[in-house]
């Protein structure tokens, strides 16, 4: 077998890093910064080479982390907003009717609350001081938020609602995205806190309750809608 090229080796060592990162994230009760545990020495051991083989390609531990981070972003390996958008599509295709907001929220929370790659991504926030990393994350987040917004627009229309004056669906989508990230962290810290609640006689996630609250706050019934399918419950006005 021909000796692997420099680029192939680079790819091998980055693959090994992704493997280690995912394992670390799964093994720890809270992997937050599993990234920091992916040491050059461990990657070398996993790839069956010496540390020197890696230091031949990267000057330092930090240089390896940089590359690993970019590799994962390019490769779409990290669950983030793009994965949320994909999962939303998947849910829509699996059901005949458009999922209700509560069904959507329960599905999404259940999917990501224990997803190690989702948390590996949160752990990367510690690297945001880094000028080379932030633009990548920013661009990815922005693009997927736009995609998410178009799905939200369909749902809101289907509910016979429209954005309240002074707000728009981008704001609403950003608020729901923030809520979802925070809920996954809360769940990681203490699953007891995010236990289901019984609303209208049916168990639902606390995240779904919050999504309902947000629909109410960011949108209003659209008088021009032909067919109002459902409306979120409306507890006492303030």
């Amino acid at each position: 077998m021909a000796r692997r090229t420099r680029e192939e080796r680079r790819q091998d060592y980055l693959d090994a890093g992704v493997e280690l990162l995912t394992e670390q994230a799964a093994a720890r009760p809270d992997p937050g910064l599993a990234f920091a545990h992916v040491r050059v020495a461990d990657v070398a051991a996993r790839a069956g080479v010496t540390k020197g083989a890696l230091y031949h390609l990267w000057d330092s531990q930090e240089a390896y982390w940089h590359d690993l981070l970019e590799f994962m972003l390019d490769d779409g390996r990290l669950a983030g907003m793009p994965a949320v958008a994909d999962a939303t599509l998947e849910l829509a295709e699996a059901t005949d009717d458009l999922p209700t907001p509560v069904e959507w929220a329960d599905f999404i929370f259940d999917r990501f609350k224990d997803d190690p790659t989702f948390f590996a991504r949160i752990g990367m926030l510690s690297y945001l001081h880094d000028e080379t990393v932030n633009p990548d994350l920013d661009e990815e987040f922005r693009a997927s938020l736009a995609e998410f917004e178009s799905m939200v627009a369909t749902s809101v229309r289907e509910l016979g609602r429209r954005p309240r004056p002074g707000t728009d669906l981008r704001d609403f989508s950003a608020a729901v995205a923030a809520l979802m990230h925070g809920f996954c962290l809360e769940h990681r810290n203490d699953p007891g806190r995010t236990a289901d609640v019984v609303e209208h006689g049916r168990p639902q996630s606390l995240f779904a309750s919050c999504v309902t609250a947000f629909i109410d706050a960011f949108t209003e019934p659209d008088p021009d809608a032909d067919d109002v399918v459902t409306s979120p419950d409306r507890p006492g006005e303030l």
Binding site: L128, D171, A175, L179, A213, F214
Partner: protein
């Protein structure tokens, strides 16, 4: 000059560690910012304090012990300042027309939004994320899960003074979890995009969401 006491030295070493993990000490850190954030080291702290590692190991048994104390120090600091700020925000609170708030819910939204503005730009908030590394240690998990519980009493205060109560089946705990999640998630979003991905200021969006949660989880208390 009298020699600093063990307690004074302990505090000094924790403050230096806090500076390191919050980014103020980067330039002097040979491993660069990544290393400083990911793994603040006793040896780095010692070097910045111009003492030997032994001086720190005299006070802490291990590097992990030091890190745990550092986390406690950061959380306490943020909470103490947050509570002091809250008193100040409430004392100074005026609406858009410069008048004191007459509506308790408006005041609550104002307070929470100001707190969000403080937190989103505080490097210690970010440093906290890097400590999620050590949550396999149950003592660290307790520290993180405890969060800023100093604020919890504000929710009861809100309910009493607004004449509202929790709406069945929700408890104050549900509201606290939801607000904490939303605040943390909003900070994360802000760290990534600096709020430039939406037309509205992200503090305005935070305020709208916070009000929505209050509205959804509580209801007016019936009059007797």
């Amino acid at each position: 000059m009298a020699r600093p006491t063990a307690a004074e030295r302990r505090l000094d070493y924790l403050r230096i560690g806090a500076d390191l993990v919050t980014g103020f000490g980067y330039t002097n850190s040979p491993g660069g910012p990544l290393e400083a954030l990911a793994n603040v080291k006793v040896s780095d702290v010692a070097r910045h304090a111009r003492v030997t590692k032994g001086a720190l190991y005299h006070l802490w048994d291990s590097q992990d012990d030091y890190r745990r104390d550092l986390l406690q120090h950061l959380l306490d600091d943020v909470e103490r300042e947050g509570l002091e700020r809250a008193e100040q925000i409430i004392a100074d609170a005026v609406d858009d027309e410069g008048r004191p708030f007459t509506d308790v819910t408006d005041l609550a939204v104002h307070l929470s939004t100001q707190s969000y503005r403080d937190l989103r730009d505080d490097p210690r908030t970010l440093a906290q994320f890097s400590f999620y590394n050590y949550v396999h240690d149950p003592r660290v998990q307790r520290l993180l899960a405890g969060g800023s519980s100093g604020f919890d009493s504000y929710y009861d205060l809100y309910l009493v003074s607004s004449g509202r109560r929790m709406r069945d089946p929700y408890t104050v705990g549900h509201l606290i979890t939801s607000v904490n999640a939303y605040m943390m998630g909003s900070v994360i979003r802000h760290r990534i995009s600096r709020g430039s991905d939406t037309t509205a200021d992200d503090a305005e969006i935070y305020a709208q969401g916070f009000r929505a949660l209050l509205q959804h989880f509580t209801e007016p208390r019936p009059r007797d």
